[in-house]
Structure formats: C-alpha cells, structure tokens
C-alpha cells in the first residue's frame, strides 16, 4: 500500500475556491418525455454535509451524473466550486465519487483498484487509505470479481474518503454495508467534515442522514420540494400531543396549528400541533392537565409525507 502519494489539494483550499461546493442553477435533464431532473436550484457550501433524499426514480442519481459531467443538462448548469461540471478535468480535481452500484475491473485485486484510483484520481492520502482499509475490514488481496456488493462498495468508499478532494459525491454509498460498516461510514463522514470536505450524500437511510447531515434536500419527481436542516424539518412538521386532564375538556379546535383533535378516552385528548405551542398549552393548562406526552415525528414520518405515501398522495406542507 505504498502507492503514489501526490501533492494533495488541501481540503481547506476548497473553501477559498471560486464558489460553493455544489451550485445548480435551473438544472434540468429530460429523457424523451420524462423529466428526470426539473429546474433544480441548489447550493451546497464548502464543508457542508448535505443529504439528498427522495423516492426511487426521483432523479437523485441523474442529478449526480449531471454534477459529475457524465451526462449533460438539457437546461441550466451545475458548478463545482465555481467550475462548470462539463469541464471534468478541472472539476474532478475537486471531487471524489462513489457510484450507486459499484462495478470494478474483475481481474484487479482490491489493492490494485485502489492503486489505480489513487494514481488517476485527485490525490490520495495513502496512509489514511491504509487505515481505512483496516477500518472497513477490506481484504485487498482478492480479485474484484470475488467481492460481494458491499465489498465493492467499500473499495470505492475507501478510495473516495482517502482523497483530500474538497467535495465527496456519494450515491447511496451504504446500501450494501452491514451495520458495523455503516458505523465506520458515519465516522469517516464525520472525519471528512472535520477536515473541511463537503459531502453530497444521496441516501434512502434516514437514520444515517439524520446522524451525519447538516442539511437535507428532498427531491420528488425531479423537483426539489424542500431544503432544510434536520432540526428545521422537524419543527416544520406536526408534533403529536396527548394529554390527560381532570378539569373541563380543553377547547383546542380552531387554535392556530392544532389539528386532528381526538378524545381518546374520558379525560384524554390527542391532537397534532404545528408551529408555536403557546396557545395550545394555555388551553391545556386551563383544563388541569395531569399528564402530557409530546411525540416528535420520526424522520420517517416526515419523509413519508414528502414522498406522498401518507395517504393523500400530495406532500403535506405546514
């Protein structure tokens, strides 16, 4: 593992380059009559870990292909630190990529693939790479054809994390990893963030997104329907409140942000709350509340709302 150590563009210099890590303006990709990505406007600053979520076929991978210049936009533009994505020779010096479905040259061993990617890539910290090989428990001596899906993914992940490129573009990188490796992945993302690397992470794993991302963008049918921090996403959504009381039934209906009021038992009420809770709490206080339970929606519930599986098929917005 003594492969080429090359002058690595320090991640910190990324921040001082000509623009945000990812900048999409009106980015659109049409395939015949399908519009895979529809007028996408997105800005991911240097150093941020950005989660990119959306149901199957939403256009996540297509967006990434446009970012990498593997496909050309039908309209709009994508820039990586201010460099047009089509100028791959310059743009790719600033990024490393893990594709959704990693395919490797079957004859090469893992070590040989890592060597090749280090030699052709944007510069690799070989010491850190060797550490990652240990941490991800990869056996680098086996020919790639004998690797499982997860092991192929590990090779690409190790190669990407070992670069000092200021942007990592990862397309569902943990879909084949076991929970132990998933934990290593989260550690590696955290370390990348510490070094100032931005991470563009497409994922279906909400727990992972919640754990590692600063902000998330939600894509649906090619359109960006929300960009927010995980905490903000929560606050934008309904909280479920249950209360037991001994006094007169609280008057909740009609209060701002209160919906789906339900008397579950005599002296028990349940409702959903969006926005500031003051009015609802005041009303409850008047009813001599004996017990109060507030349940935050799980990220999953939030996303089900966005993905349109929550019943109405329409995304639920506050």
């Amino acid at each position: 593992m003594d492969a080429t150590t090359r002058t690595t563009p320090g991640a910190t210099t990324g921040a001082t380059r000509g623009g945000p890590a990812v900048h999409a303006v009106g980015l659109t990709k049409r395939y015949g009559s399908t519009t895979a990505v529809d007028d996408l406007h997105l800005r991911v600053p240097a150093g941020e870990v950005f989660g990119f979520l959306g149901p199957n076929g939403a256009g996540k991978s297509t967006t990434i292909r446009l970012l990498l210049g593997l496909a050309r936009p039908s309209a709009g533009s994508a820039r990586v630190f201010g460099v047009d994505a089509a100028d791959v020779e310059r743009a790719h010096r600033l990024l490393a990529h893990v594709p959704a479905d990693v395919a490797l040259w079957p004859h090469l061993t893992g070590a040989e693939v890592l060597h090749l990617l280090a030699a052709t890539g944007p510069g690799t910290d070989t010491a850190y790479r060797d550490e990652l090989v240990e941490r991800f428990a990869l056996d680098p001596g086996k020919p790639a054809r004998t690797y499982s899906t997860g092991n192929r993914q590990k090779v690409a992940l190790i190669a990407a994390f070992a670069t000092r490129a200021p942007l990592l573009v990862l397309d569902e990188p943990t879909s084949g990893l076991d929970p132990l490796m998933e934990r290593e992945f989260r550690r590696a993302v955290a370390q990348a963030r510490q070094r100032g690397q931005a991470v563009f992470l497409s994922s279906h794993q909400l727990a992972e997104v919640e754990a590692v991302c600063d902000r998330v963008g939600i894509l649906r049918a090619g359109r960006l329907v929300e960009v927010a921090s995980v905490a903000d996403l929560r606050s934008l959504h309904r909280t479920e409140v249950s209360a037991s009381y001994t006094g007169a039934a609280p008057r909740l209906s009609g209060l701002a942000g209160v919906e789906a009021v339900e008397t579950t038992a005599p002296g028990r009420v349940r409702f959903t709350l969006t926005g500031p809770p003051g009015a609802a709490l005041a009303s409850l206080a008047a009813a001599d509340v004996t017990a109060l339970a507030v349940r935050e929606p799980s990220l999953e519930e939030i996303f089900l709302d966005y993905y349109g599986e929550g019943g109405s098929g329409e995304q639920v917005r506050p």
């Binding site: 292909r65 310059r90 990529h97 052709t120």
Partner: protein, 522 residues
C-alpha cells in the same frame, strides 16, 4: 428466456446464415464459366493438387462438379466462419452474461443454472442447424446435386454445433468470457491446424480423423457423400454438450470449475495512469491474438516455398493463376504478398474487439470510477486507442516475423524487411477498422465489434464475393482490402495508403468528438 437468448444473437445470426449459404451457392453458379476453358481447368487442378494449397483449401474432391468446386473454394472459410461465430456467440450469451452478474436475477426464478444454460444452448444449436439447412438449400437452388448439398450443409451446421458445445464447456470452466472465448477458439484453431497438416503432408493424412474440420472434409460432399464422419461429429458434439450441462449443474453461479486463486499479491505495474492501464488490459489479448496470427502466418510461410516452387515450374498454371487474380504466385514475394493482404482481417478484428471492450466497460459501469477522475473524455478514449494501436502494431510485426521464420525454415528466401513491408502495408485497413470502431464506441452504438470488422473482414468478404460473381470493378473497389498493393511483390500504393489512413483518422476524430459531447451510459 429463450426469447432473451434469441434477441442477443439474431442480428449476427442473420449475417452468418446469409454468408454461409450465399457464398458457396454463388461460387457454384460460376462453375460453368471457370470450366469453359480446358486449359484453365488443367491449371486449376494443378493448383488444387499442390500440398500448400491443399493445406489451406483442403483436399479437392470433385472440382468438376459445381458443388464440389464450391465446397473446395469456400468450405474451409464458411466452416471457420460458422464455427468461430457459434463459439463466440455461445460464450457471449452464457459466460458473457453470467460474468457481469446479469444472470443472478434470471436465476432467482424457478429455472436452474443448468436449465438456463440448456435453453440458451438450444437457441444457439437451432441457429447452427439453420445455417446448415440454409447452406444446403442454397446449394440445391444453385443447381447442385441435392445429396452433396445435404452432406455439405450438414457438415457446416454440425461444425457450428460442435463449436457451441465446446464453447459451452469452456464457459463452465472459466469465470471470464475472454478466457472462455479464447479457449474455445483455441480448440477450433487447433482442429483446423490438425486438418491442415493432415491435408498438406501425405503421410499424416490420418490426422484428419482427429479433427472436426477433418470429419467435415472426410464426409466427401459431392464425392461419395459419406455419413460416417458426420455421425462421429454428432456423437462427439453430444458428449461435449452433455458434459457442459452436467458441469453447469455442479457449479455456483458466477464461478468456474477451474479454481482461480482467491488471493494474490498486488501487481502494480502499468496502473499509474489511464494510458498505462489501457496497455495493461491490452497485454493478454495481444498475447492471444499474436499466438493465433503467428501460428497462421508461420504455416503460410512454411508452405510458401512449396507453392511458389510448384508454380514456377508450371508456367501455364502460373499464367492461369494470374488471370484469376493471384499474380506473381511463382515467387515467394508474390505468394506472401497475397497472404499478407489478409492480415487486416484479424488485426482489424482485434482493434474492433478492444474498442468493444471499452464500450462494455461503459455499459457495465466499470468506467464510472475512471470517468469521475480528473481526466477528459478524450484521454479516456485516447488511452484505449493508443493501447489498441500499439497492440495492432505488435500483431502486424508478429505476422511478418512468423512468415519470415516459416519461409526460412522451409529453405526459402524472404528478407525480413520485405516481410515487414508486406505486413505493415496492411496497416491502413487495420486503422480503418479502428477508426470505425472508435466512431461506433464513441457514439455509444451497439455491435462495436461487428462495425469495426466491416473494413477488414467485411471488405475481404466483399472482394471474394465480387471475384466469385465477376461483379463490376466498382463493387470490388468498395472494399478497402482491394486497394492494398501486393507488397513486397510491388511497392506500397502510397496514395491509397494515405487516403485510407486519413479517412481512418477522420473517423476516429469524429468518434472522439461525439464521445466528448454525449452522455455516458453509466
């Protein structure tokens, strides 16, 4: 599933069936013209009897018969065509699908690996049967004896079946399509070589009983029509196919019976850049193709002295040969010039196959990791083209070297520089093949290999067909091969060479331009 197999092979199948059936039938129809002049007939008989010509074309069994004449002139070529096509198609649709994991989903269904293999082999077998039946039918339509037509058709079809069975076997042994294809083609090549030696050397004629090509010949179409050797071929084919199916039932999906080392130390040579990596991936194919091309040209070199000596002693025959398009065959330079012009067929096919491998890396998504590196599209494609060109140069040199060694071993005189001039004279056609393949791969078209073979193999076939039916010169002139001067007999036709090279460069540039602008399929 049979539908899936059929969709993968139908286009090539159509072409092969048309050629296998059309070429002998066309030649049979020219028989009357060739045999109109008794002097020509005598000359032809003399040429056909020469050991070296026998080596290449097989034993002339019934030249006086239109069918026998067609079998003599085209039998070896169509047998090789059908055999190689059947072998490569078999490895492509079986191991070639299994290797990148495309069978994993298929095999999740109720059908086992053996069942899947059997169904694919069924479709492929049907195609060989079709090719044989079409050959027989076309020869009957051309007015030849139906019994002979049936025997020749059966022989051609059976050879295809044999090749399919062999390739099915090698697809069980090896984990990669390249290895399975290489092994299958090597078996066919060895069989052909054995047949050639058996035909060329009188004392060794029994060798023909050990080769499938020999059995086809020993069935004596239009000259006795013997079924015995063909039944032998049927039996061997059945055993091979059965063995392949048994093997398919005893292995895991994606694995081969030949265990490969599961662990090895890293070999970091030629991994330092895309150019180096392209070269690294090229080494094995170059070694394989070199072996084939080298063996073939060594054989031709060995026979050159005998053929030319014979023709030099028979002025009439040499004259006649001259009139049928073989000029200067009475000199080693002339004979080698004639065989050198064929070199663009295999070397062009090599170039096309390399670019097809590049296209496959794109559709298998292997290319993504390199495409995500700071490398322009031009460098990705250029690396492949550079490595392929280097490989083509090696093959071209190997052919010259092998011929030179062969001629020298047979006691003849051919300067190494002349041999090199002769083989490198074909480079413009090879480059045309490469140019077309670059355009096809650059534009993301399917069938890169087939398209890339058009100038070389396609041109050669066109020329043979045009000669067979006395087509107008314009038709023959469409073939790039027809514009190659007979070097070293005469000097290089620089105008033609430069025009073809310029055209090749333009094609490659067009390919690079399209490649730069389009979406990658990964």
């Amino acid at each position: 599933m049979t539908g899936l197999a059929w969709r993968q092979v139908r286009r090539g199948a159509l072409l092969v069936v048309l050629l296998a059936a059309g070429v002998p039938a066309l030649i049979a129809t020219t028989h009357g013209r060739v045999f109109a002049d008794p002097a020509d007939v005598a000359g032809l008989r003399a040429i056909a009897a020469d050991p070296a010509i026998r080596t290449l074309f097989g034993e002339p069994l019934a030249l006086a018969d239109p069918g026998g004449f067609a079998v003599w002139r085209s039998g070896t070529v169509t047998a090789v065509l059908v055999g190689v096509w059947a072998a490569l198609t078999t490895t492509r649709t079986t191991r070639g699908q299994e290797e990148p994991g495309r069978w994993t989903a298929l095999l999740a269904g109720p059908v086992s690996l053996r069942g899947t293999t059997a169904r694919h082999l069924g479709v492929l077998a049907l195609l060989s049967v079709l090719a044989g039946a079409a050959t027989a039918a076309a020869l009957v339509l051309a007015g030849t004896d139906p019994a002979g037509a049936a025997v020749h058709g059966a022989g051609t079809g059976l050879l295809g079946l044999f090749a399919t069975a062999v390739a099915a076997g090698t697809s069980q042994l090896f984990t990669t399509r390249a290895a399975a294809s290489g092994a299958a083609v090597a078996v066919l090549g060895a069989g052909l070589l054995v047949r050639m030696v058996g035909d060329g050397v009188g004392e060794l004629s029994w060798l023909r009983w050990t080769s499938p090509f020999g059995w086809v010949q020993l069935s004596r179409p239009y000259a006795g029509d013997r079924a015995g050797p063909l039944l032998l071929l049927v039996a061997v084919t059945a055993v091979l196919a059965a063995a392949a199916l048994v093997a398919a039932g005893h292995r895991d999906v994606g694995e081969g019976l030949l265990a490969h080392r599961s662990h090895r130390p890293a070999q970091r040579g030629l991994l330092g850049s895309v150019e180096a990596f392209a070269l690294r991936r090229c080494l094995r194919p170059v070694a394989g193709w070199s072996t084939g091309v080298g063996a073939y040209y060594l054989l031709l070199g060995l026979t050159a002295v005998s053929v030319t000596g014979f023709l030099a002693g028979n002025a009439g025959v040499a004259d006649m040969a001259g009139r049928t398009g073989f000029t200067g065959l009475d000199r080693v330079e002339g004979f080698t010039a004639a065989v050198f012009t064929l070199l663009a067929v295999p070397v062009g096919a090599f170039a096309a196959a390399r670019l097809a491998a590049f296209a496959a890396a794109e559709s298998d998504r292997r290319l993504v990791l390199l495409a995500a590196a700071p490398l322009t599209r031009l460098r990705l494609l250029g690396a492949e083209v550079a490595a392929t060109t280097a490989g083509a140069l090696v093959l071209t040199a190997v052919a010259a070297l092998a011929t030179w060694v062969g001629v020298a071993a047979a006691g003849g005189g051919l300067a190494l520089t002349d041999a090199l001039r002769g083989t490198f004279n074909t480079l413009p056609v090879t480059l045309l093949c490469l140019g077309v393949a670059v355009l096809a791969a650059g534009a993301g078209l399917p069938a890169v290999t087939a398209l890339g073979c058009l100038p070389g193999a396609g041109g050669f076939l066109l020329q043979v067909l045009a000669d067979s039916v006395d087509a107008p010169a314009g038709v023959r002139g469409l073939s790039p091969v027809s514009h190659l001067a007979p070097v070293p007999l005469r000097g290089v036709d620089w105008t033609a060479a430069l025009v073809m090279t310029a055209l090749a460069v333009l094609l490659a540039l067009a390919g690079a331009a399209v490649h730069r602008r389009r979406d990658l399929r990964c």
